[in-house]
């Protein structure tokens, strides 16, 4: 599961629209315990595509989104029977 999600994330960053990457990223955070590598993918996404202008002046959207979804998933996982 972990390896296939990692592969899916790498392929979606390079070749698929961002709205394919986003749900895989969130799903990975919830399905795989301690899915810390998602943060690297978030940073890679920003590094590859963001210009210094970013989106409305903010160029770290996916780094932040991956960190937040990781934190949220860890929080919920610890409080839910999975």
């Amino acid at each position: 599961m972990r390896i296939s999600l990692n592969l899916a994330l790498i392929i979606s960053i390079l070749f698929f629209p961002w709205w394919v990457f986003a749900p895989i990223m969130v799903a990975g955070c919830f399905l795989v315990p301690r899915f810390y590598e998602v943060f690297i993918y978030g940073v890679a996404f920003d590094a590859l595509y963001a210009s210094p202008l970013g989106l409305h002046g903010f160029p770290f959207v996916w780094s932040l989104a991956s960190a937040l979804s990781l934190a949220l998933a860890s929080f919920l996982r610890s409080r839910l029977s999975w």
Partner: protein, 277 residues
């Protein structure tokens, strides 16, 4: 009289602090790590890009060559009849456009000659680049092209589609690739000229080639008007799509878009040495 009081003692298990401490240490470590990553990205914006771009460009280039091969194979398989029909219709279309194109070529030449006489001739050259990645793969309204600093591309060079549609400028260059920031990047402000009146106004990018601008109600702008950028080279920046006037407002809202679909861009031309207007 003697009274007796019985006190009941409750015994609780002492909670171990070791696990909580461990969790707190892990969380602190993660937050510090995240902060470090953001700090590096903030202080050295090209550090991560320089790290990931060469690896990604290999994948992008192989993908475009694979797609090219598949496309060629597909065209071989296509029926002869459909090819003949398409060929005929294309011939007719070319014939109808020939006269207009000749006139346009003449006007372009005359324009360049006049600029040359006035000492404002173009000194740069155009470098054709293959678009490796475009929106919506790129969330930030950027393009990745297969020409970079080794081809003479510099930050700030203007980027055109189909030779005359100004779409963006180079924001970062790497060895064999460059990142182009489209003018329509959400939140990006560009100063543009409206129609033949050449009224100048600020337009805000809305993503995927769309823009919004506000002008006083008195200024005449109508649907289909061309938008240009204050730049020496003859070009088109956008076409007015809609003009809405609110009776209670002194400004009219103009929505315009680039005359090309950014999601379908395959090639672009980078005008080198275009920073001097």
């Amino acid at each position: 009289m003697r009274t007796c009081s019985y006190k009941t003692k409750m015994t609780y298990l002492r909670r171990s602090n070791v696990q909580a401490k461990k969790n707190r240490a892990t969380a602190t470590l993660i937050v510090a790590g995240l902060f470090g990553v953001f700090l590096v990205q903030y202080l050295f914006p090209t550090f991560y890009a320089g790290l990931f771009a060469p690896i990604a460009s290999i994948a992008w280039k192989s993908e475009s060559s694979v797609l090219g091969t598949i496309g060629r194979m597909g065209s071989i398989v296509r029926s002869k009849y459909s090819l003949l029909t398409e060929n005929d219709s294309l011939r007719r279309e070319i014939a109808s456009r020939d006269a207009g194109a000749l006139l346009l070529d003449g006007l372009k030449r005359e324009n360049e000659e006049l600029k040359g006489l006035l000492g404002r001739a173009r000194t740069g050259r155009d470098v054709v680049g293959l678009v490796l990645s475009r929106p919506p793969v790129s969330f930030y309204d950027t393009l990745i092209i297969d020409v970079g600093s080794s081809d003479g591309i510099e930050v700030g060079d203007k980027v055109y589609a189909q030779g005359a549609i100004l779409v963006g400028d180079v924001s970062e260059t790497f060895g064999s690739t460059a990142r182009v920031s489209l003018f329509s990047t959400p939140g990006r402000t560009v100063s543009v000229l409206f129609g033949s009146s050449t009224v100048q106004a600020e337009a805000v990018g809305k993503g995927a080639g769309n823009f919004e601008a506000h002008l006083p109600v008195g200024v005449e702008v109508s649907e289909g008007d061309a938008i240009t950028f204050p730049h020496l080279r003859a070009h088109v920046f956008g076409i007015v799509e809609s003009v809405s006037v609110d009776a209670s407002d002194s400004l009219q809202t103009i929505l315009f878009k680039a005359p090309i679909n950014m999601h379908q861009l395959r090639f672009v031309e980078v005008e080198t040495e275009s920073k001097v207007r």
